[in-house]
């Protein structure tokens, strides 16, 4: 049923419907603006659910939509005679597999929750806010579904611009500097990524295509393509122009050094996004200065794009390099885990505790990737989903707390369990999920990642487990000083969560508990896609 | 050396003197004067080519009439702007006119 409808394109551009409607609403009509803003995120969620219902879990990559977007003829002086056409072709090409499907659903869900949270936390210029917000959502959905390098890059950039404005206008004290830092850092990452993509398109993207000419005979075309499948085939097949030993003089051949160089370009580019120590400092500022509903999206989804890129491009295009440098990825993973955990322990701002905790949890993703087996990489993807949900929930709570108390400093908050028992209960649950308590989603992802890695790198795994132990320390410190502890008398009268805040909290907690108790619903979706990717590396 | 060359050389020398003045002089009036000098050098060139060029005809001289007119107008407007500027800022030193500075 889904085959005939371009569901993926509809999904990606559905937030634009919201933008269109918002444009016609007057700026002063705050209530209507917020309702339409939220409704604009409901539509992608419904489409995502429809997509999930029509998805065939055993069929791998499916629902391909492809049409020629850029067809750029290149000067024919540089190709041998007899070639009829020589062009650069960048397609508008989308497809979905298990990993993309999960991340798309998560994007739609968290966007809706963040939009709901924004109703309460954002106090000015709703029209602009929701327009940027929906544009951001378009970019994110597009990133996870693109099958062409250039299209991926475009959607990637589309996510940067709205974030710049969302941080810079609706953030806190240091918002403009933070927005600048965000754009600069991610811009550098994008630039590196673009260089790597160009290298890939001009080597692995080269293919010879047979086409019928006007005269009816077959002619050969030389094409540079950005298509991911083409590049993947060329990069992994041992006798292709890129890799084959017979073609060392060909301009499309990539030497060992070139392959490593491009791999590291991608590693750094996505590492800035993930973030990997030492490229993490921009993210700390964003977590501290951006409005909480924006941080929900940022921490919940945008950081995951880094990991997604590493898996999709790093692992699929560079199987040998991934194997050779798995130890390096694991090392960075361990550094992330321990560094993030120790620093989270000494922060006095709750938002920074959560920021360092995100760094720590992304370290587990790196460990999972470094394990090079289905269990570990599956655990990494699991952690993406799990941490996305938990992080979104945490920042939802941060926003609600900030709105009532005007502070996120741990010593100033305290004893709030008495006046806000519901939110304290949710905070405690979220904290337990963050430290990986079994029964909640965090445990199974950490477990799989560690199980996967232990076979090849037991020492790194043990260090990673020590980091999980530290998680208990910093989470309890932060959560307990907010909920229990001596109460600041100013906060004796604050109200507990309103319905509009409680609904996203309950939804996110429900998902966290659901995945924690019965992870098979998620693993069924993810694991086949992960196996496919790993088959390219050799299992 | 033929006649064209000498006229052209003279015009070039005048042009360079004018260019030097336009780029280095401190007083705005001198700059305007230098611009006048450049325009007159151009006129010289036009008339020289009208007489000794490849296809000599009257077009060069007529064009030089245009240039003289435009130059006169431009000087008038330029002096007017300069006077207005002098009235508001009190100086006609080119080095003080840096409102476009970043």
């Amino acid at each position: 049923m889904l085959d005939n409808i371009p569901i993926l394109s509809l999904l990606i551009f559905s937030p634009l419907v919201g933008i269109l409607v918002l444009l016609f609403v007057r700026r002063e009509n705050g209530r209507l603006l917020r309702i339409i803003g939220v409704a604009g995120t409901v539509l992608p969620l419904l489409l995502a659910i429809w997509l999930m219902s029509g998805f065939d879990y055993s069929a791998g990559r499916q629902l391909v939509e492809q049409s020629v977007w850029i067809h750029l003829p290149l000067p024919q002086e540089f190709v041998p005679a007899g070639i009829s056409q020589y062009y650069l072709e960048l397609n508008y090409s989308l497809a979905v597999d298990g990993i993309s499907l999960t991340l798309v659903f998560m994007t739609a869900l968290i966007s809706l929750m963040a939009a709901l949270a924004s109703i309460v936390h954002i106090k000015k210029r709703w029209k602009a806010f929701y327009i940027w917000f929906l544009l951001l959502e378009t970019g994110m959905l597009g990133v996870f579904l693109s099958q062409d390098l250039f299209l991926f890059f475009v959607f990637f950039e589309v996510t940067l611009v709205p974030m710049f404005f969302l941080i810079g206008i609706w953030g806190y004290k240091d918002r403009e500097k933070t927005a600048n830092k965000f754009l600069l850092y991610n811009g550098i990452g994008s630039a590196l990524m673009l260089i790597a993509f160009i290298i890939l398109i001009t080597t692995g993207g080269f293919m010879v295509r047979e086409a019928a000419t006007a005269e009816g005979s077959l002619a050969l075309d030389y094409v540079y393509s950005g298509d991911i499948q083409t590049i993947m085939t060329n990069m992994t097949a041992t006798d292709s122009l890129v890799k084959g030993a017979a073609f060392t003089t060909s301009p499309f051949h990539m030497t060992e050094g070139m392959l490593t160089f491009t791999f590291f370009l991608l590693l750094i580019a996505f590492g800035i996004k993930l973030p990997i120590f030492p490229f993490h400092t921009w993210m700390l500022k964003v977590h501290a200065e951006a409005p909480p509903s924006v941080v929900m999206i940022h921490s919940g989804i945008l950081l995951k794009i880094g990991a997604y890129g590493l898996i999709r491009f790093g692992m699929q295009f560079f199987p040998e390099q991934t194997v050779d440098y798995a130890w390096l990825i694991a090392l960075f993973g361990v550094i992330n885990i321990l560094y993030g955990a120790i620093l989270a322990f000494v922060q006095s701002d709750f938002r920074l505790v959560l920021a360092y905790s995100s760094i720590s949890h992304m370290g587990i993703v790196l460990l999972g990737i470094a394990s090079l087996n289905t269990t570990g990489v599956g655990g990494a993807v699991f952690q993406l989903v799990s941490h996305g949900l938990i992080s979104a929930l945490m920042f939802l709570l941060v926003g609600s707390y900030y709105e009532r108390t005007e502070t996120t400093m741990l010593e100033k908050l305290g004893g709030l369990a008495k006046s806000m028992p519901f939110m304290s209960g949710i905070l405690l649950t979220a904290g337990l999920a963050l430290l990986g308590l079994p029964g909640l989603s965090g445990f199974i992802s950490e477990f799989l990642a560690f199980v996967g890695l232990f076979d090849t790198m037991p020492v790194m795994t043990v260090l990673g487990v020590a980091g999980v132990l530290l998680a208990a320390v910093y989470v309890l410190r932060a959560v307990l000083s907010i909920t229990y502890g001596p109460m600041n008398p100013r906060f004796a009268e604050v109200k507990d969560a309103r319905l509009i805040e409680a609904i996203p909290m309950i939804v996110l907690v429900a998902f966290i508990i659901l995945i924690g108790i019965y992870p098979a619903i998620l693993s069924e979706t993810i694991m086949p896609a992960v196996s496919d990717i790993l088959n390219g590396i050799g299992g | 050396m033929n006649m064209v060359a000498s006229f052209l050389i003279l015009a070039a020398i005048l042009f360079c003197i004018g260019l030097y003045g336009a780029l280095t002089k401190r007083s705005a009036i001198i700059v305007l004067l230098s611009v006048e000098l450049m325009l007159n050098a151009v006129n010289l060139n036009l008339v020289a080519f009208s007489r000794w060029g490849i296809a000599p005809n009257l077009t060069g001289q007529i064009f030089s009439l245009f240039t003289i007119t435009i130059a006169a107008v431009e000087v008038a407007v330029g002096i007017a702007i300069l006077i207005a500027y002098y009235r508001s800022k009190g100086t006609s030193d080119v080095r003080d006119m840096n409102a476009l500075k970043r």
């Binding site: 993490h280 120790i342 269990t375 308590l437 560690f450 232990f454 098979a520 196996s531 790993l534 | 006119m97």
Partner: protein
Amino acid sequence: MEAVYAQYAWLVPLFPLIAFLLILGIGRTANRTGPVIGVIGTSISFVVALLVLFEQMKGDGMAYVWNDLEWIRAGNFVLEMGFEVNPLNALMLVVVTFVSLLVNVYSIGYMKDDARISVFFSYIALFTFSMLALVISENVVQLYIFWELVGVCSFLLIGFWYNKPEARAAAKKAFIVTRIGDVGLFIGILLLVWHMPEHALDFTNIANAFGNGDISGGIATLIAILIFIGAIGKSGQFPLHTWLPDAMEGPTPISALIHAATMVAAGVYLVARMYPVFEASPEALQVVAYVGAFTAIFAAIIALTQRDIKRILAYSTVSQLGYMMMALGIGAYAAGIFHLFTHAFFKALLFLAAGSVIHMLHEQDIFKMGGLWRRMKVTGWTFVIGGLALSGVFPFAGFWSKDAILAEAYHSQPVLFWIGLFTAFLTAFYMARLFFLAFSGPAKSDRASQVLESPFVMTLPLIILAVFSIVAGFVNIPGSDRLATWLTGEAPGEHGSLLVIILSNVVALAGILLGWLMYGKKQLPQDWLSGRAAWAHRLSYRKFYIDELYDYLIVRPLRVIGYFLHLFDEFIVDGIVRLIASMTTALGRTGTRLQNGQLQTYGLVSLLGLVIIAVAFVGWRFVIHAG
């Protein structure tokens, strides 16, 4: 043989879970109905557990396993969930549900005036569910999951009175210290995943793999030690014992339930469940035995000088758990489990009796009590019974189980026997000290002189537990060995010896006598040791300064590292970023000097540019046409 009731063993944890959800759903207003729901839920569980147990007792110790729920599949690694019923966990099911039921009833009285009483009952229900599910877990990962859940419930209950800073600190400490142990268990599980054939993790396969010698030698020892580290954390053995005495900040009913009878026994249960792993490694068994023995005597020494009634009992629990570990370590599997069984009854009894005293007296320092015997008859008598059982006096329950352990130790490792015997002496002594200071003599405060007996809802559980503290030992009298045979499926060796029986009783009675002389009749001065060797007294009273040691060795350095790294992050890592950013800004600023607002500069630059282009153009043409 058809296992009729065993198929429904999954119902046993289910009812407390339903009770938890119900109480949670009704909310804070359920102060009247919450306790009732809790009691009903636990009673139904208890009945089903009894049925399961009786069925297991009739059979030949056959295990029933159901594991058809595929929980997660990740590549080659598949995890299934299910449950298993065998003699060991059927016994545990009954012990847990029984003690939980009695604690539920008791708490109706104890927590009567607390505003959050329904929250309390919901937490107890959640704990009971987790503990029961742990006990019938079918594989090691499932056990780990409920192991952690039990830890969370313990955390929530220790910190129940969260307005007290000591309670908060104790809850955090409990969670973190047990987590350290859990790390060991987790790494042990990781090792098992990769060494077990087909990554199978259920107990049946583990027993086979280790029993057949498929996994042996260094790996087996490593796995066993790591698992034991997990048990050390949960059962409060040295060096991870520091959380247990602090856990006494929680309400006394849960000290009885969690920190005496059930959760702390989970460590012993884990070792017992994974016994084939330990049997494959004699070195690991030695470690277990010696750690257990050391903990037993270590904790007993500390208990000698404590003033808080609950702390004395807490250290006593640590000490008795040491006995159980020692038993398992020397190969006396049945004796260790037997002691777990009897200990659950008399320790829970002692805690609930202490709770009765605390509830009516609002005091926990035994030096401020006195003369309670006259006024709280039921509490007093049940306390005596519990104390005698703990001291191991014939014919109370504790005697039979402790004797079984000592007999086995005498036979195989005499060193441990003498340690165990001396510890028995100390145990009897400190219990006598406790009893005489608290119950006999004149009342040392006004409240003590006017105290009344606790309400029936609290004394009833005391009486029931007292009865069991007397008769529970009779299931395994040397000579009949019914329990041992049933548990292990084979007849144990005959190691009972009359000498041991006599010695242990003599030692226990001597301890009681000494305690009576010092604290009861006051014939001996109370400070004959503390006066002469004050350092010894201080070492014991200050718990050998272990807490302070951990603080200086671990907590403070961690904080220092954290601050140092924070500075590093702020100034060096971010500094480099800011340096790059400022470099680009500086570059830009250099460029802006070109924009000086001077028209003449612009003109000059344009002229230069024009000249360069012209030269290039002409030069290019020249080159093209010349070459």
